[in-house]
């Protein structure tokens, strides 16, 4: 069995006050064993809904999915035993210690008594939390909590580990720390990793990416292949008269020119570095700056949707939520 996850024509429709909202629309894909698979898309694109369906937390409106060979509707418990989860939002009991959180998980997943202590020790060591295992989780930093959640998700040796926005709300240093763990896991080759992200740079780490928007998969390939769909490099330039420049470039080189106010204009061109000297000579407008860059997944997303996959603001709603929670204690 090489396919760890198989999804066929998945649909999820929510009833809302005003009618129906299709969160997932005819989604089909499969994930191979040992693969690091990513879902890339803006917030509200249907990433979390799809994960929740695969984790048996939600029922699909239509369609089929199997995980580790188990149908998600017919054998939900076998699916649950096969997966580990790191949720987008914290899901630890902060009034228990790190060790107690893991013990609780070990009992829930029926890990044999003889293995429990050893596994907990292993996971705490791997996530470098041994020193603080007997402290209440409420005293942990965001990064430590996320590491503890990963440790918990791995405790019962799942076949698939789901990571829903694993680095959301973490500082850059902690983020790269978490990514080191993910690569370490991947290098062992035993586990399939499925993650969602709206960070391009994080999606780059994946073996394959499904780009998802408005509940639909609009592209699915390796990051390199996706970037190759862009016609070469991306040229960025600023000028005092962007309107005229836009028209001129589009006309002369038969390319689509995008306007991005603070950054200026950009367009795709093969062999960008060689293209620039001639371009400057021929330009009928004054160029104030120009640069060339290899295409990124951001460009891919822009090309596919016509929109930018904007960085989230440090989610003010979530900050408020966690602040309100602190107050309640």
């Amino acid at each position: 069995m090489t396919e760890m996850i198989e999804v066929e024509h998945l649909h999820k429709v929510y009833k809302t006050k005003t009618g129906f909202h299709t969160a997932v629309r005819d989604v089909s894909f499969s994930v191979r064993k040992g693969e690091l698979f990513g879902f890339l898309g803006p917030n509200g694109a249907g990433k979390t809904t799809t994960i929740n369906i695969l984790c048996t937390l939600l029922k699909p409106t239509q369609g089929k999915a199997a995980l580790n060979g188990f149908d998600i509707l017919k054998h939900p418990h076998a699916v649950r035993q096969s997966i580990g989860l790191v949720f987008q939002e914290p899901s630890l009991d902060e009034r228990l210690t790190a060790r107690e959180n893991l013990e609780f998980h070990a009992l829930l997943y029926n890990i044999p008594k003889t293995l429990r202590a050893e596994r907990i020790h292993q996971m705490l060591a791997m996530m470098e939390l041994e020193m603080r295992q007997d402290e209440l989780v409420r005293h942990f930093s965001g990064g430590m909590k996320r590491r503890l959640e990963i440790a918990r998700g791995l405790l019962h040796h799942p076949k698939v580990l789901f990571l829903d926005e694993p680095t959301l709300g973490l500082d850059p240093q902690t983020r790269s720390y978490i990514w080191n763990y993910i690569h370490e896991l991947k290098s062992k080759g035993e586990i399939t990793l499925f993650l969602t992200t709206h960070h391009m740079d994080e999606a780059e780490h994946c073996d394959r990416i499904a780009v998802i928007d408005h509940g639909e998969i609009i592209a699915l390939d390796t990051p390199d292949s996706l970037k190759k769909t862009i016609g070469g490099d991306v040229i960025y330039l600023t000028t005092q008269n962007p309107k005229a420049a836009k028209e001129e470039i589009a006309h002369r080189y038969a390319v689509q020119v995008h306007e991005d106010p603070p950054k200026g204009l950009h367009f795709e061109m093969t062999h960008g570095a060689e293209f620039i000297p001639g371009f400057i000579r021929e330009a009928g407008f004054k160029i104030t700056s120009i640069s060339v860059r290899r295409p990124t997944l951001e460009d891919v997303f822009l090309k596919l949707t016509g929109r930018k996959l904007r960085e989230e603001q440090p989610d003010s709603l979530n900050l408020m939520k966690s602040h309100a929670r602190m107050k309640k204690r």
């Binding site: 899901s91 009991d93 009992l107 929670r325």
Partner: protein, 272 residues
Amino acid sequence: MTVLAQMGTPLQRNLMGIYTIWLREVRKFWRDKSRIIGATVQPALFLLLLGTGIGRGIPQAFQVQHGAQEFLPGVKDYLTFIYPGIIAMTILFTSVFSAISIIWDREIGFLKEVMVAPISRWAVAIGKTFGGSTVAMLQGCLMLLLAPMIGVKLTVGTILALLPLLLYISFSLTAMGIAAAAQMRSMQGFTVIMNFLTLPMFFLSGAMFPVGGLPAWMDILVKVNPLTYGVDIIRAVVIGYNNYAPLFDLYVIGLFGLLMLAMAVLAFSERE
């Protein structure tokens, strides 16, 4: 397949799940000493202040029928009379408010960890109910420490009979709390609804006054109130005074508990 081998039988898994959820509730209760103290001092004050005040302050009301010797046949005074009622009150409040842990778990996201575990939803509901009722029973037992102060003599036999009885009543009342909490999203909402429910339940249970000779409308409310039978049987065991047959009490409490548990399980299973 290794995953299946690790899982064990569904029954095994669910029993383990119930135990795990129970363990967490009890452990957290034990750790929270301020909660234990608060939940003990409040009913103790209620008992001593209200019991002494009403018992001594307005004796005429009670002496008309029975003379000055005893509050009721076989019941020395008012304080003795309400003591079992206060034990029942402690259990009621602790049971119902332990159910708030479900809403709390949802708020902190922990409920998801439980919901994706390979155990059935009914096991989650039952585990929560067992956990809450154990906590309520322990809290009720703390009230037994007041017996010497009231002048009620408890034998070892009485205490041994009380433990399973308090657990039995707690289970019924906790199931009621869980059934309600499973439907609710906000803690404030739950607190308001539960106050609205528990206070009348307490007042109409015969905890504070004898239930004989009440006006007809009140008599009906007292009789449909499941807590009435809880108070009655605790009173039967603690001070040997009761209005209904103990077996009938047990029957009503058990039936109510099963009904509430069924509702709690259903509420959990329905949620997506």
